[in-house]
Symmetry: C2
Subunit: 405 residues, 2 copies
């Protein structure tokens, strides 16, 4: 298959003729591979690059329930090894089909891929069947505390240990890791110098990039350099405040005693210009105004910074908050313009294992609901007039309800 | 000194309270340190982050003319070593003053800094005097051909060898490198783990990043991952064509038989909205329309891709081409809106050692000059109405004049 003719979004800098990518995770269990794979996928989809995770564990669980016992992962267990290899091949076959038939752009293969043999096999399959770029991402972590915290938060309650007691699950998982350690071969700068890859040490303390190709891989590296995994809340506590450059957000925060930063990128969408266009047709020969895609591109640096920040309160506008919510809640582009951003409400986001906890803190101020539902017959989203609304945040508030995703 | 309150530009995502940075180059002579330092500085200034290079060689040349003899660089030459150390201290003192008094944001210290002692000294001076982030960039190159090409292109005709014959200069410079090699200690992951740094191998084949901090350092890494040093021209030959999404650029290129990519980011500046604003004042409470700063932010991904491309023809609009020219020709922001982009002209850019060769290929089509000079008393550049102009490129043309920068 040759590289396809396709138009991609503004976030991806909008041009045609773009390449296809397979991103392959590498690393021992509980090194944050799934976390990175999911987060990266959410980000790339958000900027308009169609991306999907293919998780090897899902394929294994489809054909066997033995994964709750570490013995299944012993290298000596040949039957199980064959089974797991078959799952890999199945996953890659699905990846190839998805890229070829469903206009996928980046497929993320989430598996341990801990041996050179396995990586060579993947390289050979991909080289033969696809004209696409292969990029390995290895997560290396020698911080035992970090690994154990990861197991407790994610694995113990994960799909492999349904109905298993936490202590037993933890012990079993630690043994599973030991089996992998015996055969683990980290990506080797000499022996695997034909590969493009990135190594991430202790969730970003050190990053090594080898033979990266093209701007999508550079974008992936750039994004993964920003993420961190410590607990934090996006919206409240230790109040550090971000506003747009528009008076209404600045005024909203004028009484909050906290360091304030003004982001021009947080300004409301410039949507109404497209209406004016009709009036001034003689002046212009092309449609003006921003689309949601443009807005996402403009908000990308804000997301990068939000990924770094510990705790921050963002005071912005309806369309802007919709885009930010779409990122954190992984909402598809076509649903984005219909996300409800209620007035007089603080939305608190707490990134959790593989998603985001969300809490709506309603402030008791009477107001009109300006939200419009998605029409039955979708029109051109970019031309739909957008109500422009403030989210105003007084100093005191009462929590009302909490919704977990 | 504490981190300063300052407003920075949109390209830097516009917010206040930003950190200061010192970027310190590390590496043997002729490893492209000056090239990277200058290029990085040009880029950061272009996105609105005030940056300046401090070149140690300039300080040395101020006090002695001995640099044209390699013996000056022998480690055993104690007098010369003291002199060169003094120059380093002078440069860092100037850097500190520039950051504190002239609102500089990023200072790039361009010197070899090949020993751990020297790097520790820099670290201590900076830690004591400034609250700012220190980032080392080491360029490592073991490709002898690349090094020799670099010496021939840059050093032999450089300021150290004025009036010296090329062969003699080359031989002397190779000996100078040998002196450095004897004392060179590359950044050490164990012994210098307290430092933030980036190592670039063979101009980007491999990149290692250690303890990077904040988004400016991440931006620096991202940018340096895009640059390459092979010769190429930006505008013509092997015609690959980039246009905007606007009909007039697409039509201009419809007869060119070459792969075409359409970039939304190349669309003309949305400047006229700010005029309409006045008319529709009741509708809006803030100024719309794009400034040149906004345009630079929008063009950033285009620049990243241009840095990767071999040969490409960009067909775009006046304001857009002004921004691109400002990047390649290192033109200050306040001069940017007055850059002349003549009609019916192909502008050919060929990146050279530390700058860019430029060639105007005038096409013999009668037209009106729409360029307006910079006013005597500068007003608000962003509100000045901008003439919108096509650059139309027929298939045949005759070169007329060439101007080297």
């Amino acid at each position: 298959m040759s590289v396809r003719q396709r138009r991609v979004s503004y976030g991806d800098a909008v041009y045609e003729n773009r390449s296809l990518h397979i991103v392959v995770m590498v690393g021992l269990p509980a090194r944050g591979k799934t976390y990175m794979a999911k987060k990266l996928t959410r980000y790339l989809n958000w900027v308009g690059i169609k991306t999907k995770v293919f998780n090897n564990g899902d394929y294994v669980r489809k054909i066997t329930r033995q994964c709750s016992d570490h013995n299944f992962f012993r290298p000596e267990n040949e039957e199980a090894s064959m089974l797991r290899k078959k799952c890999s091949v199945d996953a890659i076959t699905d990846i190839v089909r998805w890229l070829q038939e469903e206009h996928g752009r980046v497929a993320v293969f989430d598996a341990t891929n801990t041996t050179r043999d396995r990586r060579r096999m993947i390289h050979q399959i991909v080289e033969k069947q696809l004209t696409c770029k292969l990029f390995f991402i290895e997560s290396i972590c020698d911080d035992a505390q970090l690994v154990e915290a990861n197991i407790k938060e994610v694995k113990v309650n994960g799909p492999d240990y349904k109905g298993v007691k936490p202590e037993k699950a933890l012990a079993d998982f630690l043994q599973r890791i030991e089996h992998y350690k015996r055969i683990y071969e980290p990506l080797d700068e000499e022996k695997e110098k034909y590969l493009s890859y990135m190594k991430i040490y202790n969730t970003g303390e050190k990053v090594l990039v080898h033979k990266h190709k093209g701007h999508v891989q550079a974008k992936i590296v750039y994004y993964l350099m920003h993420i961190h995994i410590s607990k934090r809340s996006i919206y409240f506590s230790r109040l550090k405040v971000w506003t747009s450059w528009m008076q209404r957000t600045i005024q909203t925060c004028r009484d909050i005693n906290a360091p304030t930063e003004r982001w021009k990128a947080l300004n409301e969408i410039d949507a109404v210009s497209s209406v004016i266009n009709v009036y001034h047709m003689s002046l212009f020969r092309y449609r003006r105004g921003e689309s949601y895609e443009d807005l996402v591109a403009r908000l990308e640096p804000v997301i990068m910074e939000l990924e770094r920040e510990s705790n921050v309160l963002v005071v912005a506008h309806q369309a802007v908050l919709r885009c930010l919510l779409a990122y954190f809640r992984d909402i598809a582009t076509d649903e984005l313009p219909y996300i409800e951003v209620p007035l007089h409400t603080v939305i608190k986001l707490t990134p959790a294992a593989y998603g985001c906890d969300i809490e709506y803190v309603h402030l008791d101020v009477p107001s009109v609901n300006t939200h419009r539902g998605k029409p039955q017959v979708p029109g051109d989203l970019n031309t739909a007039p957008l109500p422009i609304v403030n989210v105003e945040i007084p100093q005191t508030y009462q929590p009302t309800f909490r919704q977990s995703l």
